[in-house]
């Protein structure tokens, strides 16, 4: 079976700033992507999720570690081997509006596939294949063929790119944030399409920062933080019973329609605490004193506001300690060695706190 196996993959980027040094984008990440499975790779910006996708597509070389496909290290492919690899492993990216050349008709992406892989296929056979691929992504050929990219909606463009992947003998699809640029009304259609393709045996790496989307489509979930896996396992287990503090924090921050964010107890709101009033009412010292002045007089120094508490708590969760919270998470230096993953229950690994 065509399984992609990621083994102890690390990636260091060299920082270009004055401070120099190396930034670890991935720290010894290992997982397997078997056929017929959707893995949601969830992480915040800078967590390294896109780097994983790029390494799987061989657009980026890992600093250490290997990626194997059918037991063969993908780094060793020759040019021809790579072409065969791309026949089976394809990527679709975030921004459909920049994946097309606006000068050409959108279906040119199909012609380009034909030029590389299917030179010998007859015209009638080829159009039959295109129709089958479009049918698989629920597009009406009349709606999309011969159209320019700007004449198609984002959802149509994204589905057209998936159809392009299906024309090939695709076994693995790397879907990097393919939903985030789409409108709510078309998002679900693309998600449902992924589920359908999965049932037909396609392996899908669904890279996203959106936990609810990841939860909806995936069988297994990987939570990535600072380039290391902090929690991994069956999606129901991760979302139903999150163990790592970071996962819990992410889940608590997800905006949900029917549940308000759990508001942690508010610190005293300074304006009220100092005798001034809020929102449109008069302020201590007369109606004409602007709020700004009243606040200048008020002492805020020791009072944590709610927002501040939220930020500090989040950062503390991110940093896993009590380091200076205002420094910003991107400036945190990290060890290359990832936290150890331990088995919490079958198919549910949790990393030690970092």
């Amino acid at each position: 079976m065509s399984t992609i196996k990621v083994d102890q993959v690390s990636k260091l980027y060299r920082a270009t700033s004055r401070s120099g040094g190396l930034t670890p984008a991935l720290r010894k990440v290992s997982f397997e992507l078997p056929p017929g499975e959707v893995i949601a790779l969830i992480g915040e910006s800078g967590s390294g999720k896109t780097t994983i996708g790029k390494i799987l597509l061989r657009l980026v070389q890992p600093t250490s570690g290997t990626v194997t496909f059918d037991g063969k290290d993908i780094a060793t492919y020759s040019q021809r081997g790579l072409r065969e690899y791309y026949r089976q492993v394809q990527g679709v990216f975030q921004d459909p509006f920049s994946s097309y050349n606006p000068i050409y008709r959108a279906d040119r992406v199909f012609d380009m596939v034909r030029d590389v892989y299917f030179k010998g296929v007859s015209d009638s056979d080829w159009s039959a294949r295109i129709e089958a691929a479009l049918d698989a992504v629920a597009l009406n050929p009349g709606d999309v063929l011969g159209k320019y990219p700007h004449q198609l909606s984002g959802g149509q463009q994204q589905r057209l790119l998936i159809a392009r992947a299906l024309l090939l003998d695709v076994k693995v699809l790397i879907a990097d944030e393919i939903i985030s640029m789409l409108d709510a009304s078309t998002r679900v259609d693309v998600l449902n399409l992924l589920v359908k393709l999965k049932r037909q045996g396609l392996a899908i790496l669904f890279i996203t920062h959106d936990l609810s989307l990841g939860n909806y489509v995936s069988d297994r979930t990987i939570i990535l933080r600072h380039g290391a896996i902090v929690e991994m396992g069956g999606t129901e287990k991760i979302f139903g019973n999150p163990q790592h503090e970071y996962t819990k924090m992410l889940l608590s921050a997800v905006p949900e329609l029917h549940k308000k964010w759990q508001h942690s107890p508010l610190g005293p709101v300074a304006v009220v605490a100092n005798g001034a009033a809020v929102a449109g009412q008069t302020i201590d010292g007369g109606p004409n004193v602007p709020v700004a002045t009243a606040l200048t007089q008020a002492s805020l120094v020791d009072e944590l506001t709610h927002a501040e508490q939220v930020v500090k708590r989040d950062l503390r969760a991110v940093l896993g300690g009590t380091r200076a919270v205002a420094s910003g998470k991107s400036q945190v230096a990290m060890a290359l060695e990832p936290p150890t993953l331990r088995e919490f229950e079958p198919d549910h690994l949790v990393a030690d706190p970092e």
């Binding site: 915040e44 449902n192 609810s212 939860n215 329609l257 939220v310 930020v311």
Partner: protein
């Protein structure tokens, strides 16, 4: 009422004639209200937000009035609007955090901004600025940094602080939580709430395509479709018992944490919004609406179905008329929601 928008229409000039992107939109905002404005891309929500503060060369107001704190805004007159910007109405434009100039430090940027608005007592405002930075967990240090040295969340928070520095009555926040991580989204969302609670801004229009964020921070939500308002009601009403078929479909298409494809298959809305260059007559959602009937070829009025709940849909209006004889007012709505 702190903000009153009445029959506002905004058009883009084009070589083939005007394209009306905002068509006869009316709504009001109370003091301290955060109104969410949601809709698909191209629905006109950003155009509406921009029109309240700055009409650029391509745009023109073709009708309607905007009143803030009892004063009518001269929105058609870019020059006359100038002194009102930042003091009466302020905007955090979409992608603003990515558009901060990389050649000036944040502190210089703010001083420039205050200078261009002829603020006399710069020092006092800057003290206030530091206080607010502290409030949301940033240090004074960001003032001596360049924009590219800050993370996305920090930049977004700085942008909001800049826009609200002069305590405007109305803040228009265009997609301020998009492109941020969930934890940062939450910090920015709660920052908006905090600023409202403290009176830094009187009322807020939060423009976004993300209904779940609005469910967290907004008091009311207006749904826009193809340049017109489809529905406006309290957040609870929109989330729990939406009346307009478009809102219903939109809410039904959102996956929530805990919903999995194995158990529930959500459905999107087939089709796409009509082109605004040549919109069809009548209800613009007609082609995609499962309930459309012959009356929908006429434009439905945006009427108040229940107190505070406005809907533009013939089906809803008709059911309401039919149900008006019944003792329970909410009956029709409950049936409809099923």
């Amino acid at each position: 009422m702190s903000v009153n928008v009445a029959n506002l229409s905004v058009a883009y000039r084009s070589r083939r004639g005007d394209v009306t992107a905002v068509d006869n939109v009316s709504f009001t905002l109370a003091d301290g209200e955060i109104m969410g404005l949601a809709g698909e891309s191209g629905s006109g929500k950003s155009t509406l937000g921009n029109a309240l503060i700055y009409l650029d060369q391509r745009m023109k107001a073709t009708g309607g009035t905007v009143t803030v704190d009892g004063r009518e805004l001269p929105i058609a007159d870019t020059r006359a609007m100038r002194p009102l910007r930042m003091t009466e109405v302020s905007l955090v434009p979409q992608y603003a955090m990515s558009a901060l100039t990389p050649t000036r430090k944040i502190g210089q940027l703010i001083t420039d901004l205050l200078k261009s608005h002829h603020v006399k007592d710069t020092r006092e405002v800057l003290t206030e600025m530091q206080r607010r930075l502290e409030l949301i967990g940033l240090t004074e240090g960001v003032l001596s940094k360049y924009s590219f040295e800050l993370s996305g969340g920090m930049r977004q928070r700085v942008t909001i602080i800049m826009s609200t520095l002069l305590n405007p009555s109305l803040l228009i926040a265009d997609e301020v939580t998009s492109a941020l991580d969930v934890s940062t989204q939450r910090a920015v969302g709660e920052m908006l709430l905090e600023f409202r609670d403290r009176g830094y801004v009187k009322s807020v229009i939060a423009i976004t395509h993300d209904l779940s964020i609005l469910a967290q921070i907004a008091d009311s939500i207006a749904i826009m479709y193809a340049g017109r308002l489809a529905e406006k009601a309290s957040t609870e009403a929109i989330v729990n018992e939406p009346l307009h078929p478009y809102t219903q479909a939109l809410i039904a298409s959102l996956p929530e944490v805990g919903v999995r494809a194995d158990q529930v298959t959500l459905t999107g809305i087939p089709g796409r919004p009509p082109s605004l260059a040549d919109p069809p007559p009548g209800c613009r959602f007609r082609d995609r609406c499962p309930f459309a009937f012959d009356r929908c070829t006429q434009t439905p009025p945006f009427e108040e179905i229940k107190p505070g709940h406005h809907v533009a849909c013939w089906k809803v209006s008709q059911e309401r008329a039919a149900a008006s004889g019944r003792p329970v007012v909410g009956q029709a709505a409950a049936e409809h929601a099923v």
